[in-house]
């Protein structure tokens, strides 16, 4: 009877503690940083106990992952860093550590996970369970550097699409005004926010910190908001159609008189015939994916895809190169062009398609 009771208790315990693989409770780990930023990664501000099993220490800074270590040291060679032994949760020198990369357990801030072990026996056991390759620190660090570009772009996409929006909403609703310029790192900003905001969850606090740090201190763009507002009676000067019926395709020249077009192709035709009166800065188009207003000079155009605009074959505009190439791949596009690549030949080619 007692055993049965214990079993139920144990089951309940495991169910309620089914957290992420990396996470441990705060009292089980070692944290070398001092002050109120003790539990935050100095590079990204993330909670260290939550990602403890991928923690690294270098010069009294404790990073949440190999990604952050490589990023904040600009990929310099490091020999004196320390890493958590996934099995015993103690810090060991990286020289003596065995890394398992690419296992099925998800990593921290990276597509390829990297976990370190002190003993060969443990590393074999882990690999047997979750797969991956066993490498030493130098190779794992090299891999982290290679991943850095891709991981950073993934993290940026996530932040642009979600984290900034969440952070901004929370900041405006639950925080007092905070000036990010006064803080030297995102970790100290996060610690500062803890007293200024009525937020208890680490995840929410992280979103606010990332939003403030990236948009106000690093002045990153939040992503365009708002679309081109087309008046009901606006007609395309080239084809004569009403533009407000096709808001997804609207393009605009913001000169003395605002001109609206139902697609980039018609706008380009107009620009070619009135070259001298138009300033490139005043040309706006609608991003295909987000349907927001963007500047034509910063946009990328996919040509020859299987998506048609109101006037047939189109040059389809995107705000980022990544999404333009993704679209080209998905919709059988022929080329990705910038605004300055578009010339008379391109127009003729579109007409011939």
């Amino acid at each position: 009877m007692f055993v049965k009771y214990l079993c139920i208790l144990a089951l309940m315990f495991t169910v309620s503690n089914a957290k992420m693989f990396q996470s441990i409770s705060e009292d089980k780990g070692t944290f070398v940083q001092k002050g109120n930023t003790k539990l935050y990664c100095p590079n990204c501000g993330m909670n260290l106990p939550k990602f403890y099993k991928t923690n690294h220490i270098h010069k009294n800074h404790q990073y949440c992952s190999l990604h952050c270590l490589a990023e904040s040291n600009n990929g310099k060679k490091l020999q004196d860093a320390k890493v958590v032994d996934t099995k015993s949760l103690k810090f060991i020198g990286v020289k003596n550590a065995y890394y398992v990369v690419n296992s099925t357990k998800k990593g921290t801030m990276s597509v390829h996970s990297k976990y370190a072990f002190a003993k060969e026996k443990d590393v074999q056991e882990f690999r047997k369970k979750y797969g991956g390759q066993i490498v030493d620190f130098a190779q794992a660090y090299e891999l982290a550097k290679i991943d850095l570009k891709k991981d950073t772009s993934m993290i940026n996409t996530k932040r642009q699409k979600k984290v900034y929006k969440v952070g901004k909403k929370l900041y405006l609703a639950k925080c007092n005004k905070v000036n990010p310029e006064a803080f030297e790192s995102i970790a100290s900003l996060k610690a500062g926010l803890k007293s200024e905001c009525k937020i208890s969850k680490d995840k929410a606090l992280q979103a606010v910190a990332v939003y403030l740090w990236d948009t106000q201190k690093l002045h990153k763009k939040m992503g365009a908001i708002g679309s081109i507002k087309v008046p009901k009676d606006a007609k395309c000067p080239i084809c004569g159609m009403f533009v407000h019926k096709y808001p997804k395709w609207a393009a605009m020249i913001d000169a003395d008189k605002k001109l609206y077009f139902d697609g980039v192709k018609d706008m380009i035709k107009y620009i070619f015939s009135h070259k001298e009166d138009i300033d490139v800065k005043n040309i706006y188009i609608t991003d295909y994916f987000s349907t927001t207003k963007i500047k034509a000079k910063d946009a990328y155009f996919v040509f020859g895809s299987n998506v048609y605009g109101p006037m047939g074959n189109e040059l389809i505009p995107f705000s980022s190169e990544i999404s333009a190439y993704a679209f080209k791949k998905d919709h059988f596009g022929k080329k990705v062009l910038t605004f300055y690549d578009i010339d008379q030949d391109v127009l003729e080619e579109i007409e011939e398609l």
Binding site: K158, K161, K165, F289, S290, S323, A326
Partner: protein, 366 residues
């Protein structure tokens, strides 16, 4: 010859033969009542469902494991966010709590504006809880013990909110025993409508176990359930159609009986054929219009004021005693019903009346 006296005369004649018209009147009213009640109920339910649907994003993503729904993780959100064309992915917590005493499931829905000690319940749930003396608060039995919440507000029960309890997200996770990075479903925002289908395919490509429903899929599902050809609707419409044919039969035979003689007398005292037809037209229009409007009016009161007792259970089962219907009147369908009931009704009396009026009167009087 169309003047006030003529109309007065027709009405007088109608009132003289009250009893004969009464049967038609009741049957007609009943048919219109039944058909428009069904119409009101289905339109109202559809309206509420569509309003709820409009608040969602374009794609809904659910996870399955061996054919059953399982929670999604933060990882799913991260990788779906990376698909170009997706603008935002929101993880939602939502599920059912089993209330063993009454053998009922309560639908737990998250409302961020609530604090950790209060909840909003529907009037249906209020009455269930009141049966067990929970009038100001309710205790949820969870893995970690008892979570008790105060009833902050009671909302009206409609088709969506009937079994709903609104709580804070943390409390919802506690009640439903879900971890912090688990989600019941994901709400995917795709700003460009023409990319929705393509992106749903991409999500399925990423995770073959995932079930993806777009807003349009859900809309057509609802349409299908409340489509007139579907199950219960068909039966109810067949009932009204058969009774309508009985009515028509009664109409036609009424002309051929006693009324035959009446028409002949009118003819012999100098009524023209068009006058007789007009007389019949006035009389039957009065009956048809009165019963049509009375039927619609009664149906409106029955459905939207009394909440359609009996008929409601056919649609929604037995757990629906507190559901109220949002008053929605679709004038277009009512007009179609008008055309398809009133016109055959009038035709069924005017054609035989005309047929008799043109016969040889001496033959008829004999």
């Amino acid at each position: 010859m169309i003047n006030k006296n003529f109309v007065d005369f027709s009405i007088l004649l109608l009132l003289k033969d009250k009893k004969e018209y009464l049967f038609s009147f009741f049957i007609f009213t009943f048919i219109v009542f039944l058909a428009s009640s069904i119409l009101f109920i289905s339109d109202s339910i559809k309206h509420d469902l569509f309003i709820a649907l409009d608040k969602q994003h374009q794609i809904i993503v659910k996870n399955t494991k061996s054919g059953r729904y399982t929670p999604l993780s933060e990882e799913h959100i991260d990788s779906i966010l990376q698909i170009s064309g997706v603008d935002n992915v929101k993880g939602k917590v939502d599920g059912y709590y089993y209330f063993a005493q009454d053998r009922r499931y309560f639908h737990i829905v998250v409302d961020e504006s609530l604090d950790e000690h209060s909840m909003i319940i529907s009037s249906e749930i209020k009455s269930i809880l009141a049966k067990f003396k929970y009038t100001t608060q309710f205790n949820f039995l969870t893995q970690d013990g008892i979570t008790s919440l105060d009833i902050k507000k009671v909302i009206k029960s409609n088709i969506i909110s009937n079994d709903v309890i609104l709580v804070n997200e943390d409390i919802a996770r506690k009640i439903l025993n879900m971890d912090e990075d688990e989600y019941s479903y994901l709400d995917v925002l795709v700003p460009n409508n023409s990319e929705i289908d393509f992106i749903s395919l991409k999500i399925v490509d990423l995770y073959p176990d995932i079930k993806v429903k777009t807003k349009n899929d859900l809309k057509s599902d609802y349409e299908y359930v409340f489509y007139y050809k579907g199950g219960i609707f068909m039966i109810l419409y067949i009932v009204s159609m058969i009774s309508f044919f009985i009515l028509l039969k009664n109409q036609i035979s009424s002309v051929f009986g006693e009324k035959k003689r009446e028409i002949a007398i009118f003819r012999s005292i100098g009524f023209a054929i068009k006058d007789i037809i007009f007389l019949k037209f006035i009389q039957n229009s009065v009956v048809a219009l009165c019963s049509y409007f009375l039927g619609v009016f009664l149906a409106y009161i029955f459905v939207f004021i009394f909440g359609a007792p009996l008929l409601k259970n056919i649609f929604l089962g037995h757990d629906a005693s507190h559901i109220i219907f949002t008053p929605i009147v679709d004038v277009k369908t009512l007009f179609v019903m008008f055309i398809f009931t009133v016109i055959p009704f009038l035709a069924s009396i005017l054609l035989p009346a005309w047929k008799i009026a043109v016969e040889d009167m001496s033959e008829v009087i004999k």
